[in-house]
Symmetry: C2
Subunit: 117 residues, 2 copies
Amino acid sequence: MTDDYLSTTFAALADPTRRAILARLASGEASVTELAAPFEMSLPAVSKHLKVLERAGLISRGRDAQWRPCRLEPGPLKEADDWLETYRRVWEQRFDRLRDYLREVQKEEESDDSSKP
Amino acid sequence: MTDDYLSTTFAALADPTRRAILARLASGEASVTELAAPFEMSLPAVSKHLKVLERAGLISRGRDAQWRPCRLEPGPLKEADDWLETYRRVWEQRFDRLRDYLREVQKEEESDDSSKP
């Protein structure tokens, strides 16, 4: 089940407009009209993106029929972050190795320079 | 450009088989046959997933024509992690607020209990 949730989350995040909507909602609730403003998109096009985000549990909508504000729901983002956690040590190890290698190269260059007449 | 890379990364991660392949590669290089073993999938089906991962820069393939081992490339995962970083404070704030609320409820319940005769 976790796998299905994660796939839905990652698929929802695989779009720059949807990520921009989440970025806007990170600073507070907003109506569909407010969310549509920065994009050159029709309201139905924005609504379609909102539906994908809502289905993925990344946003919720208010019940007020007039306004129905959108709100960021960070739970699935935390799950995605937990999944990535496993790989953090892989890139940290790679970057450590790269740093050690660069230091080694620098040391060799310095000793080459100092041995020059 | 960053947006496109991120969309490609998230789209590649939106599949449980591809995530399982990355999990296997986190513990070391593997051939296509080795990667296919735990899945009830044909080699061409696995190869298709590997192509998606390779196009997203999440894996690289060795040049040895006989073996061509697959290797995890953590760079795009780090970029995805950096993107999620922004939202970390959102869920931390929510969880802090929930914890404060639960403490408040508990306190009230305790004081209700102690005021009983």
